[in-house]
């Protein structure tokens, strides 16, 4: 270790580049890669540290430096000195506010490694960006301002890093220059952090006293901290083990991305190997089908491979023509992953719109995309105290544990064993936003024990006997729009036409089946889910089912539509403007809601999402209930 700092940076290799470019290229070609994140609270100096790493490794060009020097004087926070943070705070909004609001990726090289740094924002509401950066990181560098010690955000970020499975944690106690390089300050912070780390299960971390601004212990040991005997930051980053090495020692798994079939003579399965390795002659099993075969070759454009390992993208061919398509997982034959449809999961909510218990979201895990619902969380974590808190749902940045069910079985492994088969995202079906990230812990047994019982008299038989095509006439609209009145008229007409019908009315169902439900968003979703399931049983029995529910959310109406066979779900929008419905106020509910005596009332303090393409629309301002009913009947004809 050199005893002066920055005079001989270990990673500036200009001399080699100038003298022997081929030797340099050979060196660069054999470098490994380490991905890491920096996180900490606002003003802990993350951007400055990264700016320093880029600057010291000559990743900043002269023209950028000129612009930086000028900018530093204009908007910098370091007086006349260069403000490295300006180098990395990319978006205009951030430069004005002086904080990093989105994760940014930076790159630099040393002689041994290429580094990808995710600069993760410290601002509390941007936790989702931190999780994004942490999910691909081999190492986390958690910054602490030596003057401030362990803060709430330090705990939150450490916890998130641990949660996402980062095993290498560096505690960089920054701004040591501002505390006179005091060993006492450093030791106190390390002691505080050790206690906290233990409490959340972090077994190991490496603490180092640094100054991103002055460059202490970044490259080489600093003269200012003779009491510190540990590694400097770069030295440490160059030597820690990367994730892919560990993944290679696990059993072979490869999620299939794409089936490659250019002609009748070639059929290969393409994917990125998640864990383990594969070679010709290996016995494999395709999940979830369980079919087995043998690998004949591992194909790439650079030639067939003798073997391929975790982290490589390849195409494999089998000896047998077995079914295998996107979403399947190819595994070593004797130790396959599990298949299940109900799980204990840890979920990090990433969207402004809170989690809707019971709503169907898309779940993407590996290359599998299925419909999934989440139950009410068992608990959420208070990230400041790490205590379990009872909650009804998860809001933006909340982390909780909940049961998750998928509409068909998926291939998975617990996240702790395999990130690729245990990590998932949830996608909103209407907005397509990525709303959550999650980790599967283990499967719940329901999946294996409940089977579908086949019956001899099927739905077609029920319908044939009643001489009608079963249908669900789903009336939706504001309270007081006339849903129940019109549905009643329609049922009367159908009855006269000798049709077998049943009317499920919102208020009536809440007296029985759904009397345990209130009017919160979660309860409204569950209300509609149950009604949907009942309607499904009734159409299976051959009935024409009429339902009259406000059913304010598009997502839940879509959920019911998906339950019912195609063409049998008829959405009828009873279109009445709010002013008209409120003026009618048949049950006096609007008056109560306006007075604040009735919470979560649709149209007042709870949204109504009007249908975009309903099968039938009736305008109750222009039509009487009888006219509306006649209009609906005409649209429904013929009924067989």
């Amino acid at each position: 270790m050199s005893d002066t700092q920055n005079t001989d940076p270990v990673y500036v290799t200009e001399a080699l580049i100038a003298e022997d470019i081929d030797a340099y290229l050979d060196q660069h070609q054999h470098k490994t890669m380490l991905r890491f994140i920096t996180c900490g609270s606002v003003d802990d100096g993350k951007s400055t540290l990264i700016g320093r790493l880029l600057y010291d490794s000559k990743m900043i060009f002269e023209d950028q430096l000129d612009a930086l020097t000028a900018d530093s004087k204009k908007v910098g926070t370091q007086g006349q000195e260069i403000d490295f943070a300006l180098l990395v705070d990319g978006l205009a909004a951030e430069r004005e506010q002086g904080i990093t609001i989105d994760v940014a990726y930076r790159f630099f090289n040393t002689e041994k490694r290429k580094f990808i740094v995710a600069d993760c924002p410290g601002h509390e509401q941007y936790t989702r960006n931190m999780i994004t950066g942490a999910s691909t990181a081999d190492l986390a560098c958690i910054l602490i301002d030596a003057r401030k010690g362990v803060l709430v955000q330090t705990r939150r970020h450490s916890y998130l890093c641990h949660l996402i499975g980062i095993k290498n944690i560096v505690l960089a106690v920054n701004k040591m220059d501002l505390v006179d390089y005091s060993q006492d300050v450093f030791d106190k912070i390390v002691a505080d952090y050790t206690e906290f780390a233990k409490s959340i299960g972090i077994e190991n971390f490496t603490a180092m006293p640094i100054s991103g601004f002055k460059g202490d212990n970044i490259i080489g040991a600093s003269e200012n901290t003779p009491w510190y005997k540990g590694p400097n930051l770069i030295e440490h980053l160059e030597t820690v083990e990367v994730l892919t090495a560990e993944d290679q020692s696990k059993p072979f798994r490869m999620p299939v991305q794409w089936v490659n079939r250019p002609n009748l003579d070639f059929r290969g399965f393409s994917g990125l190997i998640a864990t383990g390795s594969v070679k010709p002659g290996d016995a494999i099993r395709v999940l979830p089908s369980g079919k087995t075969s043998t690998v004949t070759k591992v194909v790439t454009m650079d030639g067939e491979l003798d073997s391929a390992v975790a982290g490589q993208s390849v195409t494999v061919c089998f000896a047998d023509e077995i079914d295998c398509s996107r979403g399947d997982v190819i595994s070593v034959s004797d130790t396959p992953p599990q298949v299940a449809d109900q799980f204990e999961s840890t979920i990090v909510w990433l969207n402004d719109d809170p989690m809707h218990v019971g709503r169907a979201y898309w779940l993407k895990l590996g290359t599998q995309m299925v419909s999934a619902t989440v139950q009410q969380p068992k608990y959420a974590f208070n990230v400041n105290t790490m205590e379990h808190v009872a909650v009804k749902t998860l809001e933006l940045n909340a982390i909780g544990v909940a049961t998750l069910s998928t509409d068909k079985p998926i291939v998975f492994e617990p996240y702790a064993d395999n990130r690729s088969l245990g990590g998932f995202i949830l996608i909103d079906k209407i907005t397509n936003a990525t709303v959550a990230a999650g980790m599967l812990q283990f499967s719940l047994r329901r999946a294996q024990n409940v089977h579908w019982q086949a019956t001899d008299i099927d739905r077609a038989e029920h319908a044939r006997l009643k001489n009608q095509t079963p249908k669900v006439l789903w009336f939706t609209g504001l309270s007081g729009s006339g849903k129940s009145t019109i549905a009643n008229e329609v049922e009367k007409s159908l009855n006269l036409m000798n049709r077998h019908t049943f009317l499920l009315d919102g208020d009536n169902v809440r007296h029985g089946l759904n009397k345990d439900l209130g009017f919160t968003e979660a309860d409204r979703i569950e209300n509609i889910r149950r009604v949907g399931e009942v309607a499904k049983l009734m159409v299976d029995a051959g009935l024409i089912v009429l339902t009259a529910f406000i059913s304010p959310y598009r997502a839940e109406r879509e959920m019911v539509r998906k339950l019912i066979p195609e063409g049998e779900f008829i959405e009828i929008f009873v279109d009445t403007p709010l002013e008209v419905a409120e003026a009618r106020d048949v049950k006096g509910l609007y008056k109560k809601a306006r007075a604040g005596d009735l919470k979560n009332f649709t149209g007042i303090d709870s949204p109504y999402e009007a249908p975009i393409n309903p099968e039938i629309r009736v305008n109750t301002v222009e039509m009487t209930p009888q006219e509306a009913a006649a209009h609906i009947i005409r649209q429904l004809m013929p009924l067989k």
Partner: protein, 305 residues
């Protein structure tokens, strides 16, 4: 698994595997993907990765060149050759309005980029209803790119909202969108300029000869060496093209692209020169400097790649 020895993957192997994975995900999930092909070195690498991703099949999508009619002649030659080599369909789009109004880099300045490139790109994507477009942008190029996702969501009017980007976790990419919306996908986001050069070197990927030094006719204008690539170049009074040994670090419209004096005739020499140089890659381009420090960010919000 004791019979299998561990294999340490180099950074280029990991970057290659990541890019191939990204390209396959798009093909699996998008309805109508396209690869934007600008004929530059980044496009060359991206195209090579696409060929690797689907080998022995040809990549199952076309190449789209948004042409400004002002590219270097050598670029057009390589473009046609690579399309043939890869077995992919080549689509060329030129904004008809820009053509009709005779928009050119000499008389119209920023309007040239706006109409031929930004508008041309939007029109081209709309014309064929592409819902996913691969681009060769890298995060190390420019500050706002450093914060862009690999799958970058665009509104129906091609706008980019940096504040509402989708979180991107592990290697799970969300390619879902509503009708009219689209995604731009950057498979080589995590590559640096050096990585690109080294990959071209290792894989022997064909690139436009303009990247190598040669005697070329140039004039000096506003501190930039500009190549006189065809007879549309309006010489100012007293200007005489001189032959100089020059090469290009980036390739765009020839009147807007500055050459550097160089003797680097081989790839290692080019890489050597690149590494020892003290100005950044995009500096030869005028586009980043508009509207203060946020030039590219503003352009991206308007729909530029």
């Amino acid at each position: 698994m004791s019979d299998v020895s561990r294999q340490t993957l180099t950074h280029l192997q990991r970057l290659e595997a990541e890019a191939i994975h990204i390209i396959r995900e798009v093909v699996a999930e998008a309805e109508n993907p396209v690869m934007l092909y600008s004929v530059g070195k980044d496009s060359a690498v991206m195209l090579h990765l696409a060929r690797k991703a689907f080998y022995p099949s040809p990549p199952p999508f076309p190449l789209l060149h948004v042409d400004t009619t002002w590219k270097f002649q050598e670029m057009y030659k390589l473009r046609d050759k690579m399309a043939e080599l890869s077995g992919m369909e080549l689509l060329v789009y030129q904004n008809p309005e820009a053509a009709e109004r005779g928009i050119n880099p000499f008389d119209h300045g920023a309007l040239h980029t706006d109409m031929w490139k930004t508008e041309g790109l939007k029109q081209g994507l709309d014309k064929w209803n592409f819902d996913a477009a691969f681009g060769g942008a890298r995060r190390d190029e420019e500050k706002s790119r450093a914060k862009e996702r690999i799958f970058s969501f665009r509104t129906a009017s091609h706008g980019w909202d940096p504040k509402s980007q989708r979180p991107e976790l592990w290697n799970l990419y969300n390619a879902r969108k509503n009708k009219g919306e689209s995604i731009r996908v950057f498979p080589i986001s995590n590559w640096t300029e050096l990585d690109v050069w080294q990959y071209i070197h290792l894989n022997d990927i064909p690139i436009v000869p303009l990247y190598f030094a040669d005697e070329r006719p140039v004039v000096e204008r506003d501190g930039m060496l500009v190549m006189v690539d065809d007879d549309r170049f309006p010489l100012r009074e007293g200007e005489v093209p001189m032959m100089k040994s020059v090469r290009f670090r980036t390739l765009g419209c020839y009147p807007l692209t500055g050459a550097v004096e160089s003797t680097a005739k081989t790839l290692p020499e080019v890489i050597q020169e690149t590494l020892l140089t003290t100005t950044s890659e995009r500096q030869g381009r005028a586009i980043d400097k508009d509207s203060g420090g946020a030039g590219m960010e503003v352009k991206k919000q308007q729909g530029y790649f």
